[in-house]
């Protein structure tokens, strides 16, 4: 038999299968358009889903790096502005000391006035040294206390408060591999206890009052060293700020780039999907109209 024997049942079933698969394709495009995503479950595209999940994790990481860097920049900026003020105060103390070194031309009252200014500068420095970022002293390392430096109420000696611990300091992870220290501990700025800027200022004030020329000169030399140390610390903070800023920019760039590739992998190409929808609609309507014509006629229509 050369021809295929067709029956109404076969045609009905073919029509149903055709309509069903047309409707399925239409539903698929509709899902992509309404959810805005081409990958709605892993099986839609296992490879794409893997990339999507990886990219999602990377985006979250980069976001976190940006947050870490912003927090670190807060610490560094606070330290930087505090160090500027420390520099100013130390420089002023240095000038006062130079003035006091001209011992021959100054009377006791003038020296007392200079000593008083040094005392004020010293107490100002103590409060600057205790300046805080988010309730934590910026020069206090990881101390639990609220202050970095305190003056002894009796002797007036200023000492560094945090107990010495083996700490890496306050660290912020700013990229996959880079971790930057965002604090600077008091002794690195003000000098170790016993040889700190506070001790030098106290000695200077005593020397001024006692008109001790040698003492004043020793203090001048010490203050010069202190000034250099502060400047060095500020340069260090500046360098770290730059590093964190670069890392933050890199992380936010990466976040942007990754988000756009995530969208490329995962999101529906609206133009393509709309064209697809149109195409599938036309195909479905064509199938409907073909079906309506095919399943109606039979021999019975032509017999009387």
């Amino acid at each position: 038999m050369g021809t295929v024997r067709m029956t109404q049942g076969m045609m009905t079933r073919q029509a149903q299968t055709g309509l069903q698969s047309g409707l399925n394709r239409l539903a698929k495009v509709q899902e992509q358009l309404s959810t805005g995503r081409v990958i709605n479950r892993p099986s839609d595209d296992p490879t794409g889903a893997t990339s999507a999940m990886r990219i999602r994790a990377s985006v979250a990481n980069q976001k976190q790096y940006v947050r870490n860097a912003n927090d670190g920049l807060g610490w560094l900026n606070q330290a930087d502005s505090t160090l500027s003020s420390v520099t100013d105060q130390v420089r002023r103390a240095y000038e006062v000391a130079l003035q006091g070194a001209n011992s021959g031309s100054l009377g006791p009252q003038a020296r007392e006035a200079l000593a008083t200014e040094i005392d004020q500068i010293r107490s100002g420095l103590v409060s600057t040294a205790n300046s805080a970022y988010l309730n934590r002293p910026v020069f206090g390392g990881v101390t639990q206390g609220d202050i970095a430096y305190a003056a002894d109420p009796v002797t007036g000696v200023v000492t560094y408060q945090p107990a010495p611990v083996a700490s890496a300091g306050v660290l912020r992870a700013v990229s996959d591999r880079a971790t930057v220290r965002v604090d600077i501990e008091g002794p690195a700025v003000f000098g170790a206890d016993g040889d700190s800027v506070f001790d030098h200022l106290a000695a200077l004030s005593t020397a001024l009052r006692a008109n001790d020329g040698t003492g004043i000169n020793t203090a001048i030399a010490a203050l010069d060293t202190d000034r250099e140390r502060v400047t060095y610390a500020q340069a260090d903070i500046g360098a770290r700020t730059k590093r964190v800023e670069q890392a933050r920019d890199a992380a936010s760039d990466a976040e942007l780039r990754l988000t756009s590739s995530l969208s490329e992998v995962e999101n529906t190409d609206l133009v393509k999907a709309s064209v697809d929808l149109q195409l599938q609609e036309v195909a479905y309507q064509a199938a409907l109209s073909a079906t309506s014509r095919v399943i109606q006629p039979s021999l019975l229509d032509f017999l009387r």
Partner: protein, 466 residues
């Protein structure tokens, strides 16, 4: 020389035969959309003259009419057995794809509410806590993010065990259906034998028999073959399930308890009793819906659960190990952050800490406002890769199951359409048959009228002269 009334008799047989043909056509039309109906065709045979009327005699009769010798079912045993085989495969792949798709929907990946998102969120709250180690809010946020991770893993494992329990109860109902279909088939075998013996029409019984065998193939992938006596022999994994008038009873012997709970271990079956009354254990893999259910229960679900268990265990172990290296707000070394029972990780995974101050955020003994251990904890949440592999491996298996089902559908459609070509009712054809029969009936009636008038001439007019 034919008898006077022989032609009347011939016309009568023609009328009878055409009536049967009309009858068959009307049955075909009536069953045009009946599932499993095979179109019938009446087979006629010319009634010949007696070949040896008597000793020393000779017949001069010509043929004398027609009779309907039998009604054929337009079917092909080979095609039927192919249909059964492909339907068995189709039903296996369909059930498999459907079950896997259901599980996949429960994974909620990729998305913003699944385990992957919870892990990312947990990591980011830990890093935030590292930035603000003194903040109670950051501590409680990290704890609630840890609880979210546990919830997400628990939700997924609940989906998996729900699916497993659905599949187990589906297995039990399937077994009941298989047994009832098998015993129905055995009793149909018996009825067919009786009907054949009595000489009555067996076509309807055979439709029923084939439909039952097809159903058995869909349910179990069993092989069936028609025996010489018209009975259907069904073989399940090399053992007879239906043989002659006897049906074996399929019973679950392991893996699933009678109440649908899991008993551990793979699902096993036996024929108890088998067709001879003894007990036979069944080995090998099953096809059809039953095979898919067993496969999902024995392989797909356990392997995903094992993967998820390993993700949960690694997460808890890695985080706990790092947590133990740190110190909490009071300066004490960190305890366990996650807790689980190794015997049932997914069922018992929980956050062991309820007080945020117990989070070992500091890397320095004695506490202090150090957040470096929290940052290290964020790095210790490193199961993302493992989880992605798990999910996407599962996604691939769903995609491939769906693709296989689709490919198989093409093959199944092809054999179905070959069978339909053979067995399906065409209304046009039946209309033509009907009209042919109608015309033939009319012609036979006309023959009878003609004979009547001939006889009228013979009886009433012969010898009369006007």
């Amino acid at each position: 020389m034919a008898g006077t009334f022989a032609s009347i008799n011939s016309a009568l047989t023609a009328m009878r035969y055409q009536q049967v043909a009309l009858d068959v056509a009307s049955t075909n039309v009536a069953n045009v959309s009946t599932d499993g109906y095979v179109r019938r065709r009446v087979v006629g045979q010319t009634l010949g003259a007696a070949s040896a009327p008597a000793v020393w005699s000779r017949s001069t009769e010509t043929s004398s009419g027609v009779q309907a010798t039998r009604v054929d079912r337009m079917t092909d045993l080979l095609l039927d057995s192919r249909v059964r085989r492909e339907h068995g495969r189709q039903s296996y792949l369909d059930s498999m794809a459907a079950a896997l798709s259901r599980v996949e929907t429960g994974l909620a990946e990729p998305g913003s509410s699944g385990v992957a998102a919870a892990l990312a969120d947990f990591r980011s709250t830990l890093a935030d806590l590292g930035n603000a180690p003194g903040s109670d809010a950051a501590r409680s946020q990290a704890l609630s993010a840890a609880a979210t991770v546990v919830d997400a893993i628990n939700l997924q494992s609940a989906h998996l065990s729900d699916e497993a329990s659905d599949q187990r109860s589906h297995l039990l109902t399937s077994v009941v259906e298989i047994n009832s279909v098998a015993s129905e088939l055995a009793s149909t075998n018996r009825t067919i034998a009786a009907a054949l013996g009595g000489g009555s029409d067996t076509t309807t019984l055979m439709d029923e028999r084939d439909a039952l065998a097809l159903r058995l193939a869909e349910l179990t992938g069993a092989k069936a073959s028609v025996q010489g006596d018209g009975s259907m022999y069904v073989e399940l994994n090399g053992q007879p399930l239906v043989s002659g008038y006897n049906a074996a009873r399929l019973t679950v012997t392991g893996g699933v308890a009678a109440d649908g709970s899991a008993t551990g271990g793979p699902v096993t079956f036996a024929l108890d009793p088998d067709t001879t009354g003894a007990t036979t254990a069944l080995t090998g893999t099953f096809g059809g819906d039953l095979g898919a259910t067993v496969d999902v229960l024995d392989n797909a679900l356990p392997s995903y659960i094992a993967g998820l268990t390993s993700v949960a265990r690694d997460l808890a172990d890695h985080v706990n190990a790092q947590h133990a290296l740190g110190f909490d707000a009071s300066g004490a070394p960190g305890g366990k952050l996650f807790d689980y029972d190794p015997a049932d990780v997914l069922g018992t995974l929980k956050v062991a800490i309820t007080d945020g101050s117990k989070l070992a955020v500091s890397a320095i003994a004695g506490g202090g406002r150090d957040g470096n251990n929290a940052t290290a904890l964020a790095t210790a949440v490193d199961v993302d890769d493992q989880y992605q592999r798990l999910v996407n491996g599962f996604g691939s298996s769903v995609a491939s199951a769906r693709q296989l089902a689709k490919n198989q559908q093409a093959l199944t459609d092809q054999v179905d359409s070959a069978r339909e070509q053979m067995a399906g009712v065409s209304l046009d054809e039946e209309t033509v048959n009907m009209i042919t029969a109608q015309r033939a009936y009319e012609a036979a009636a006309r023959v009878m009228t003609t004979l009547d008038s001939v006889l009228d001439t013979l009886i009433n007019r012969t010898g009369l002269v006007r």
